[in-house]
Symmetry: C2
């Protein structure tokens, strides 16, 4: 047997006992003729001491041991001298007096030290991911991920949801521009697609009478990666028949509050805050507002209508808006240079400028102050609740640019000014999303969530004449400004689904070709149904207090979708491609240019 | 609210209560002015009666209702007349007197009846999988699959295994001839591979210090499909550090016996039976013997050595074997024609013929009897324990052909003669597998399990000189003649892994190119480790008493890896292929022939 105890679990209660341990050498140091080793396993660290008055064999081997060696040892649990007690360490009151030791495997000197707050570049750590994962905070994150997953499964089991697996080799759809394709060897020229979500299959399970389904499932999206996206990610997928939004949302709230209680020992209030999409965009300039701090967007469009400042006046005349943030008490802190930097920041969201005013006494100061009539200034001060020392930042543009710019600026300032309570867990439902949005590039409407989302009953009649105005029976769950996931009631009638495809610009034939099997399924007794899909990686990230999705995934990929450890993707043999009857044209252009 | 109760859970206790139900119409019948509906939901079926003396509205709607309509209804739970009590039905003592009813969705007449033991061809049922899944035995199978999965997860959680997810987009390896490839858009000309198993990643998790890992994970194999294989399948993957075979096997036995107790209410004895690979091949002609019945292969090689029957004599002279089955008491039943059919059957396993003898009184009768000397006959009778009325079936050939032929014949006869106790659950460990087997086609040794399997310590020195004789520290778990899965101690030292790659015919450069990252990882403090992988689909199949893997998978594929419901795989747009810089050459040959 390699061990009878675990390093991190030893306490004064075991003093006097002989234990066998196995693990990694965190560090070794020689001190006054003794050798000390910090031995680490998954449970934690314990100090081992080798004494030359004890076993010579043990001393000889201890002399050869280096950091990250894997060893097993037998020793007695003893109390430390009072002078060497370390109360910062769980096992700091005891140590192990080594009697026997054996090296199970050696280790080269690692390319970086195994410690938290690493100062090594992330690409090096990803290349040696197995070393990076040894850091205590990584281990803790994966222990927490396990616990979160377990708790969610237990909860859903209690609620009578069946875990059912859906295929990974699925059909590519025209909505699936970002599908990963998998060539078929048996059917050359044809492809499977890896699922972006099990959407259609979970709906078919509802048609099949499974009533309550869940799955913690890998999904794939081949998109240009942003820092917080991964090509493969894990979704907590929940769907039920005879679905009604309110009891379903209440169940998800119960699930999340129980989860937070178990994982973080924190109590979160129910029901969660709720806000329509229109309200979220209006007050926070975001469909996933971080409600841990205020500094909301204040609409001044009425107050400044027809005022003397041309930029404001024209924005309103062009069906735009004028909105502002009140950066309370920060007027003195922000120099003109700093405000110029903020203007540059919001210009990336399309804003053409950032007007500003500082409140001095009861008046407004700043380059645009002179253009504002007295009653306009008074109205601004009143609307903004502005006081002496406040900084007011204005954006005048189309509603979209105003929301994007001030929404982003609000978040940036909230972080910079330390307005965010990092301990808070602010859950929020955003409801009544638009069903469709117009895609200028594609020249057609696209589904805001997905094409299977049920329109709100009272908007259904607009689906043909004014598709942009239709609201969806959809809701997103937001936590601390991150979209945890979203869900909806689904369309379950063939005629409604056909209208939806039509609104998305599908011809009858295209709809039949791509989704005929689903339309057909709807004709064989499909119950009303709906559900939600939550991003597990992001949930773990927030609960574990990490700032990077990669820290929650054992073997993540880089922003260019590469695995630096295994070097995937990689070239494959010609024989493999021949079997698939495929040719790569990559690099062919250069060859042609040479000819 | 759609419902206050579930159909199958109503009993006499609810009599007098008003309930609301929702579900599917199993059938409707009109009888003496009343309308009866069997209403089905996931929990079961209850009878609903519509009485014209009650609500006219309900009666009118009931009149329109057809099979598989989705309805909701309100009614009173009442006792049935004594004459109409149905004790075969869980809810057979009560019925629902309908007061209100509404149609939630209509249904066309389904292409086949929703009932067990379907008489519809499987391809039609796969095309309408959502209807086939409505059959009670399918629903029960998926409920059981959920329970099995839950129990395994709970057990592994209790044993401190962490559920950790490994990538689906991985690196293709030369051992991965059957990899599904995924072209990369970001890195044109390069490919990911879908994992055949998370083997390397779980080993890297051990290097990372996770110590105990599990995952219930999808795996992929693009092979020519046999009836009992699927291109994607689910594996219960378990790996631990500081691994020792005996305690690990004991833990898996505990897991399986607890599982069987919970799922089947049956007690299975521990420890499981155990047998070396050599013994299993010798006694059963199979590395996954069905031990639910006897009729073992009896080795007569010594008994018939140099006998007068040339076929036997020559087989022994050519380093072959002569083995036989004793089909006890069946001599009278098997005509010459039937024995000819058995000979034809084993010819597919390479046997050139099937010699046979019938025991009559104390003598042997049959075409070869006259060639056998008296003492040879006596030795055969003694070795075979032959009695009057027994049928003896002989195969004389190379050990492989003898094992394959008689192994298959034994199974066939065991089934035909009803020798198998279908209620039994016979678990068996097969140990000491060969590490390598020689692949004639490839002209080199290939790994019997995989290239990361640890050789038995005492055979390690043979790895270079006699690789075919090296036994592995590997074990398979067999249940009722099915391989449930297998595992091993893994190689954790760079030098041993390098020797293994060399034995597999890899050059140093090839090993480095493909597995350099793993060899490197082994140098940074890798603990001894090992584990097991069990096939979940097959486990569910056996425990649910199904005979087909497809019955355990919600949306399975056909033998040609197609989904008949969604029509995957399918053609994709030229634009998608262009983005991947790929060209399909499928069908190009015909085009060329036309030119």
């Amino acid at each position: 047997m390699y061990r009878t105890a675990h390093c991190g679990e030893l306490t004064e209660e075991q003093v006097g006992k002989t234990v066998k341990l196995a693990g990694w050498v965190q560090k070794r140091r020689d001190l006054g003729g003794l050798i000390f080793i910090d031995l680490r396993d998954r449970s934690g660290i314990v100090q081992v001491v080798f004494n030359p008055e004890g076993s010579k064999q043990a001393m000889d081997i201890a002399d050869k041991i280096r950091s990250e060696f894997v060893i097993e040892l037998t020793g007695d649990v003893i109390l430390r001298d009072k002078s060497s007690v370390n109360d910062k360490m769980a096992t700091g009151r005891i140590e192990i007096a080594a009697k026997e030791v054996a090296i199970l495997n050696k280790a080269k000197n690692p390319p970086f030290a195994i410690k938290d707050q690493p100062d090594t570049a992330e690409d090096v750590r990803l290349r040696y991911r197995y070393l990076d994962l040894r850091r205590p905070e990584m281990l803790e994150t994966f222990k927490m991920r396990h616990k979160i997953t377990k708790k969610l499964r237990d909860f859903l089991d209690d609620e009578a949801f069946l875990e059912i697996e859906t295929p990974m080799l699925t059909k590519s759809t025209p909505e699936g521009a970002r599908d990963y394709l998998v060539p078929s060897r048996v059917h050359p020229g044809e492809f499977y697609a890896l699922p972006q979500s099990p959407q259609i299959f979970k709906q078919l399970l509802m048609v099949a009478g499974m009533e309550k389904y869940y799955q913690i499932v890998r999904c794939f999206r081949d998109e240009d990666l942003r820092a917080d996206r991964q090509p493969e990610f894990t979704q907590v997928d929940i769907e039920m028949s005879f679905f009604e939004q309110e009891p379903f949302i209440a169940m998800i709230e119960k699930m999340m509050t129980e989860l937070v209680a178990e994982i973080k020992g924190k109590s979160v209030e129910k029901p969660f805050q709720r806000m329509t999409y229109a309200e979220a965009m209006g007050r926070y300039g975001s469909d996933k507002p971080d409600t841990r701090f205020g500094m909301e967007l204040i609409d001044l469009s009425t107050a400044v209508k027809g005022c003397g400042f041309k930029v404001f006046k024209q924005a309103i005349e062009n069906s735009g808006q004028v909105k502002a943030l009140n950066v309370e008490g920060q007027a003195a802190k922000y120099s003109r240079k700093m405000i110029d930097d903020l203007a540059a920041f919001i210009s990336t969201y399309g804003a053409k400028g950032l007007a500003w005013l500082k409140v001095e006494g009861e008046g407004l100061k700043g380059p645009i102050a002179k253009f504002l009539e007295e009653e306009v200034s008074a109205a601004i001060i009143e609307k903004m609740g502005a006081k002496d020392g406040d900084l007011l930042l204005f954006c005048a543009d189309s509603p979209k640019v105003v929301a994007d710019s001030l929404g982003a600026l609000r978040l940036k300032l909230g972080k910079e000014l330390g307005l965010i309570n990092e301990e808070a867990l602010n859950f929020l439902w955003v409801t009544e999303f638009p069903l469709l949005s117009y895609d200028e590039e594609a020249g057609r409407y696209v589904a805001e969530h997905h094409p299977f989302t049920m329109p709100m009953a009272e908007d259904l009649k607009k689906l043909e004449m004014a598709p942009g105005e239709v609201r969806a029976q959809a809701y997103d769950l937001v936590l601390n400004g991150y979209e945890l996931g979203g869900g909806s009631a689904r369309i379950y009638q063939r005629d409604v689904q056909e209208k939806m495809f039509k609104a998305l610009g599908f011809s009858k034939e295209e709809a039949e070709e791509q989704f005929g099997f689903l339309l057909e399924a709807f004709e064989y007794g499909t119950p009303p149904h709906g559900g939600v899909a939550l991003g597990l990686d992001r949930l773990v990230m927030i609960l574990a207090g990490r700032s990077n999705l990669r820290d929650t995934i054992a073997f993540p990929k880089t922003a260019s979708a590469s695995c630096l450890l295994t070097k995937a993707p990689s070239a494959v043999s010609d024989r493999q491609l021949e079997e698939l009857q495929l040719k790569s044209t990559a690099g062919l252009k250069e060859v042609k240019a040479d000819i």
